[in-house]
Amino acid sequence: MQRLTIEDLKNIKEKHKATFALREGGYRAKVTVHMGTCGITVGAKDVMDALINEVKKNGLKDVTVGSAGCAGLCGREPIVTIEEIGKETIKYCDMNAEKMRKIVVAHLIEGKPVEDYALPHQKDLPFYNLQELRVLQNIWFMDPESLEEYIARDGYQAAAKALTQMTQEEIIKVVKDSGLRGRGGAGFPTGLKWEFASKVQSEVKFMLCNGDEGDPGAFMDRSVMEADPHSVIGGMIIGAKAIGAHQGYIYVRAEYPLAVKRLQIAIKQCYEAGLLGKNIFDSGFDFDLEIYQGAGAFVCGEETALMRSIEGKRGMPRPRPPFPAHKGLRDKPSVLNNVETLAQIPLIILNGAEWYKSIGTEKSTGTKVFCLAGAIKNVGLIEVPMGIPLRTIVYDIGGGMRGKKKFKAVQMGGPSGGCIPESLLGLPVTYEDIVKSGAIMGSGGMVFMDEDNCMVSVAKFFLGFTTDESCGKCVPCRVGTRILLDILTDICEGRGKEGDIETLEDLCKDIIAASLCGLGMTAPNPVLTTIRYFKDEYEAHIKDKWCVAGVCRDLCTFFIDEKLCKGCLACLRACPSKAIVGEKKKPHRIIQELCVHCRSCYDSCKFKSIKVLPAAAREASEAELLQLAGVATPTGV
């Protein structure tokens, strides 16, 4: 491709529209296979092959085939979208090659959509119609490996505008006015960060993108990098101009090979088209961009550690000040922004600050992307306006808990965040409201817990993560998290003792107060919030040696309530140690001596006839057990 001018951008867009827009005499239908990592891992490539073959075989010249990023409902991938002139767009989910072949024939040739495989119409589906797509707007529709398609969707218009028509101050003003706050977790105003760096005098500055995304269960940034790499690059070019940087790095974890590949392709395309390198859009502005593949330590997402890591050193946080705006990468002024933050930038430049803050709240403007994971029905990637109540996300967009279970809590902000209970679901999703709960907005991970989750174990899980990921530099975090984990483990394994809760709380506070970096300062949050909202569970663990959810093996006795048992044999089959006896249609019974407390029976029973009793119940007689099952309640309830 030759160097692109602003004129070219327009021409490409026109031309692309003329060829690919669905119209009479042109293409009548467009079939898109969503090929994010989530889709590819469950067979999107096969679906694509089948589609191409089938379209070819049937000579469907008026059907165009394309790929795009994740369609949001990751639990239902592979997903295929079919758009037709004048007809409702239809999404097919849980696809495979055979279904695809069938759909080509029925839908595209015979004109009869295959309702069995289709999702309900989008406009009727709260999952889709409550969302507000900005960052994700390209993801669902665009081939991430095609620069032309991106340009056709107004790509690089914003960069062109920023480089040729705006001064540094003007760019910074728009971003400041938009109210955009960093999406990497802390929510620092992006415009302000840029302003600091732009005011520092230095020949060399760096513009950096944080694609480390270390929160377990989060994949917002991965999806954006995979499906819309050019928006990130566009945002970086604009940011670079704003602060006066001519070199940039995108730090991506090496565990994201597809994101790395897509970014590599995009960067190569940009160099070929003159969108990176010297004199971009003849504006006299130079910007070089490289990818740096991180080694995948969580702490490398912290800004000072990330910069050290790019320098080729051990990724360890260092005290601030000096702040990166003064001394960052290689001791030069640097700005680090999150992937999602940067992907918002082109939109703000193109549509203006007013447009951007037209949704959201005063202090949290625009939209936020979240990943729904855990016990929720609609596992996937969503983008919602700031200020939306949590409840809407849980019950409407998320569709409630899987298997009609009861919602218990949602962990926001990953290992740095906290658990929010049912009683607080009325909180609007904003930076300022979420912190009130003890959790944080974080980068966008939402892990859902239902009634079957043990909250002490949840805290233990996150502490296990932070303990492993602590860089080991400062004492409170290195040793403190380890001690927290020990105490939690003790509690879960029946060694909990009076005073443990107080010790935990006390230690948590000191760790938060004394740690060097964000990891240590936030690591105790899951412990503090679970204690705050689920103290009864802690107490039941410690005093009654009873894990009500039946998760902690040493703290539960499984017992079949004969009155409820239908004798379906499900538990009997599920039990790995043959501890359940019984005949069809007759109540089953667990032989406690053989039970290994694996919980398989509990999960397999459709009639909720298996009860979880305290560990001590193992010694009880059958009659006592019966009685216990009727009346026992844990301490504090």
């Binding site: 330590a297 702490v299 051990r314 360890m316 260092r318 005290p319 000040p321 303990t467 492993d468 990921e469 602590s470 860089c471 080991g472 530099k473 400062c474 004492v475 409170p476 290195r478 040793v479 403190g480 998290t481 380890r482 001690i483 020990d486 010790t503 230690l507 000191d510 107060a513 004394a514 740690s515 060097l516």
Partner: protein, 821 residues
Amino acid sequence: MIELTINDKKITVEEGTTILQAALENGIKMPNLCYDKRLKPYGACRLCVVEEEKSPRLLAACSSPVAPGMVVKTDTPKLRKIRQTVLELMLVHHPLDCPVCDKAGECDLQDIAYEYGKPETRFIRHRKEAPPDIRGPLIELTSNRCILCGKCVRICDEYQGRGALGLIGRGFPAVVQPAFGEILECDYCGQCIDICPTGALLSKPYKFKARAWFLEEKDTICPFCGCGCTLTLGIREGRILRSRGKEDNGVSGGNLCGRGRFGFDYIYSENRLKTPMIRRYGELVPASWDEAMSYISDSLKSISENYGPFSIGAIGSHRCTNEDNYMLQKFMRNVIGSNNIDSSAAFGYALVERAFGQKGHHIDLKSPLGKEIIFILESDLSITHPVFGINILRAKREGSKLIIADSRETKLTRHSSQWLRIRPGTGVALLNGIMKIIIDRGLFDKEKVSKVSGFSSLESVLKHYTPDKVSKITGITEEELMEATEIFAKAKSRMLSLSIGISENTKGLDTVLAASNLITLMGDSPDSLQIPAEYSNTSGLYRMGIRPDGSTGSPGNGKTISEMLYEPDTIKALYIMGEDPVVTFPNSIKINETLKTLDLLIVQDIALTETAKLAHIVLPASSWAEKEGTFMNTEGLAQRVYRVVDATGQSLPDWQIIRNLAWTMEKDMGIKTLEDISREVNPLLVSPFVSSEKRVFNPVLYTPGEESDADYPLTMVIRDVLQHSGSMSTRSKSLDLVVSEPLLEINEEDAERLGILDHTYVRVTSRQGTVYLKAKVTDTIPDGTVYVPTHFPHGRVNALTHLSHNGEIPIDIVKVEPVKI
């Protein structure tokens, strides 16, 4: 300046100061375990947390700069509580084996836990599994005592430029370990031992030697190199057990190299002399002081009567104090009546004086700091002058550019901005080439400099040194040459530095002159050229008059060291004090020959050296730690050394032996006590070095050394080993643990071609002689060259070297063959 309040006290400090520094400077005590002023703030131990009125979070004082109007509290109930928790956590995995830890009693962790901790702990589990100690010499690491303050890792990397230690792993299991391999292979400076706030890093030779509270500490000056660092010696029951650096103490600010830290035990070597010895029937046998003094007195008198006083010569010592050396020369000039007195300085320090005049050269170990460009010529200054080396690295960190011209890869080349890998011994050509480019491109103040005398002859000499020719001689490309020249000449401030001395053979008077020409050409002051003196008292002995001229008014010029040691029959009697020419001077075969022709050879030393073994009479001298006096470091700073332990056997301080001898000869030198000497010496010590303003050009041509040929295909370069200094250090058991024999370094390709395997013996032959050495195959030196040090008596490397006709030590060519067993 910035004003702030700490604990209700208003204080004013410089901008950029951290809260911790501000507090400490103003006498406000604060616990800290990971702070050291030499290192970048690290913020790991969290003990220094403070409250600041406007700050929502606690601040780590060590890494928070002061800001105007800050109101800081360093001691509140909240902070005390946090510190207790932090200490409690720190001690979770600390073994509390203080009863068997050498650090106990002087352990920062212990002290801080005592003062700020609390007696009980809530968490008792999790002792760390100790990974094996470092199995290297001298330094022992007990990881389970480590609190991961990272100071050792940082001092080694940030400050020493070595990077031998690393943090391995993350989170709770993280440990300090050798960064490469299982065994610590490093400089063995021991800086990490001093900086460790716990007993995790300890000195092996000191292990289980004494409890801290039984140790008496005394400061003295290091006996090794010209830097003159202050050693804090730990003494128990009359024996020196260790040496350490104390913060801010002495010229090095408490930094020490391995020689100063571990090398003091040379005074306990087995071959220390305990009585005088006289040769009887070919054997050296013990004698009394009376016998010895009469013997010498009679012999000297008769030689003087028969052959005249000029037939008697003496050699002074850079290891002896000013007072010792002063006495020796005074004895020679006043008692004997001869100016035949010289020293090893003839091969180094004297050349510098020949180039500048005595007053022309002022050395400052801090001179690298703040220079825009530092240019070092064929010198491993980190080895010869470790403090200078540290300051060079510091200057580099603080923004100086560092150009190193050297054939061998060294710590300095690794930290350089540009490494000119010239052929050994081609420094003069390089300097001439640089000057030629500067003149051709007009990169100097022509108006002013062309008036300096000798400029036109310089111009005409430089005609021959076109970039293309210089590139051919030195082996670097023309582009490298031009780039370095541009950077050097355009800098606003410069330092050019090299070492010169008896243990090197690639530089000589010409190099000094060429370097001086370059400085003069740039219009810089003579101080821009830094050629530090080699040993602990090299500059002192020279001032004391250990030189063969008539400076003290006696008749005519005396005989030089080249005449006395290399020309048989020049003299009849030689009095050698504290020097071992047979080992450390070039061409030992010739020296042997000369010494054997003498009627009287007196060797006065602390040990039975190789030279002493040839003597007619040997006198036992007290070592540096057994006597009082002064050393003058390379900067011209006279510093006292103290008698910290009792004399060995019947040994006496050198000056005292000479006094007694004069008395025996019934001559009164007017000196009875050390004070008497000091009265005469002190005026000589205080006159400062002043740079003379008069400049001249002394153009020099590059004279190629001997070209290697078919018989002797390799060029042999003499270089120091970091852990050694002269031959004295080889008597230190500790230092010998690191390097105990001269390894002949040989390039991988040469080794392969010659069939030489790493660490096998080779036969090395030069025109002078043959020796057997162990080979070390390496890629740090260029092919066609071999490198070897001269420290080790049993290595006899100086059997290979020779002295040039103008009294310098040139490069030798050698043949190296594997030894078949």
